[in-house]
Amino acid sequence: MTLLSDRPLTAMIDPAAGPPDCAAYGRAGGWQAARRALGGLAPADIIDMVTRSKLRGRGGAGFSTGQKWSFVPKDPASERRKYLIANADEMEPGTFKDRLLLEGNPLQLVEGMILAAYGVQAGHGIVFLRGEYHLACTRLHHAIGEARQQGWLGENILGSGFSFDIHVHSSAGRYICGEETALLTALEGRRATPRSKPPFPQTGGLWGAPSVVNNVETLCNLPHIIANGPEWFAGLGLGEDGGTKIYGASGRVTKPGAWELPIGTPLRQIIEEHAGGMLPGYRLRALLPGGASTAFLDATSLDVAMDYGSVEKAGSRLGTGMAIILDDRTCPIGMIRNLEHFFAQESCGWCTPCRDGLPWVERLLTAIEDGTGQAEDMDHLARHARMLGAPGRTFCAHAPGAMAPLASGLKLFAADFTDHIRHGRCPLPAAHGGMNTRQGAPS
């Protein structure tokens, strides 16, 4: 049966056919979990099952989902305004997994949200959707409409006494909106600056009400956990963590893309098997394992298992699990400059180190890349990596995220930096990897 597939998240996704409609979704095993939950499980049971499933948040931080929910005040949904929010902001460069889930099977997210909402007894659901995801938006609206029509959303779902509905908020573009407290601020029609914790969203979130923010992929796992049991789900993972993970690769690999694999799949397998290895003529130089805000790993780390603990031990973070590959003909300094440009521009402007430090970093890198770097620039870069990199020095995790590729890059590409400064130019034959045009890569 499909649901017991080892690729539960993507089993129903068929890019050629488009997303399943409500009936097809049901035929393929959808709604089982919702029926089971609303038909007899207590909210506490849901939280317990999710805790036991070893599901960790797929938004980047990897916090235990069940544990996160346990901080929500337990009042029934009918008595207290609470929110369940799907974080579909997905603006981390190199990351496109949530888009696949949203476009491929939006009903799965809807069911996951119903389950999560039932677990924490939230009556209001919101999908915080990135503004650029137009197709996902259309499909999501359609799916929600259908689900509502079929009685999966609205008042007194399945006669359970539980009411819940979902509203889609299309954002207007800013990476920081993905940070869960900034996301709440954005939903309140304010400038999306992060908020201090406490209060944690679970107790004082949107409009001061208890709120849970979960990543799309996290939520999409729920129907499978509830339908097939936490033990089954936990067993899907290869190591400590439970379930599958959508991994991906972009850059000069043969088959860039995304694949659902057991969590803990070795990096080498992802790149060599699924992504088909490097394009002919290119060698892997280094990679960011889980999006732009993770530290570089080099080829020596390819055997790392892609789970939270192992990647951290290897010196980086699992992040979104979507790898960005740096090849040997692309300038690492150019790549870091590009990343820091992104982070500088996406800084919300609230705290000083991030707001004014990142642009400085970007300019230093630009200077070095352009050949006007000075020896002491390296000290400045290192200083920034140190000052902005440690958590607690900036207001939120944006700046530490920005420093991950820089700090690791300064070590890994030390020679490249020195060469640039010494020779006053990029030593690569075709300066900037970006100058190379695409050569026969399949799509």
């Binding site: 954002s171 207007a172 309140e188 999306a192 972009s250 860039p256 045009t437």
Partner: protein
């Protein structure tokens, strides 16, 4: 398309009020309302911003603080079509810079500018989640992947001809 100087049409105002009513506080609809206006006029003029602020019970200053915060809300006019070329890391590796140069040279504008015939605005944008088909771009609401100079030239011709 109506002009951005005229007041908001009544149905649009009504739609904004409906959005506001769905929120716990009207200001929760701020971004949605501005997006509606932009969908209709291409950008958010100061006059429209003030009207929306009024509908949401916010001051214009307050709402403009929100509007100017977001990347996708345009407070200046754009052309009939907006090409948003991704300049983030995967697309950069795959050569978005030369593509952008090519595009701008062909159109005779700088990134951020609009062609003289008001047909096309080029804006660099952050990662649009199409990294497996880098370089990628968003043309109005349509995603394009594996972009090269040939398909860019073709696209420009098509866009110039469509209203």
């Amino acid at each position: 398309m109506s002009t951005a100087d005229a007041p908001l049409p009544a149905p649009l105002r009504a739609e904004i009020l409906v959005l506001a009513a769905q929120e716990l506080h009207p200001r929760g609809a701020a971004v949605a309302a501005l997006r509606l206006v932009q969908a209709r006029f291409g950008w958010v003029s100061t006059g429209h911003l003030c009207e929306v602020a009024d509908l949401l019970g916010m001051s214009a200053d307050d709402l403009d603080g929100v509007a100017t915060y977001f990347n996708l809300l345009f407070r200046r006019p754009v052309g009939r079509h907006v090409i948003m070329l991704c300049d983030s890391v995967s697309c950069w590796i795959m050569g978005c810079e030369p593509l952008c140069d090519h595009l701008c040279r062909t159109l005779g504008i700088q990134p951020g500018e609009t062609t003289a015939d008001n047909a096309i605005t080029v804006l660099p944008t952050v990662c649009i989640g199409h990294c497996d088909h880098a370089p990628a771009m968003l043309v109005d609401t349509t995603l394009h992947g594996d972009v090269d100079t040939v398909c860019l030239d073709h696209l420009i011709d098509t866009l110039r001809d469509t209203p």
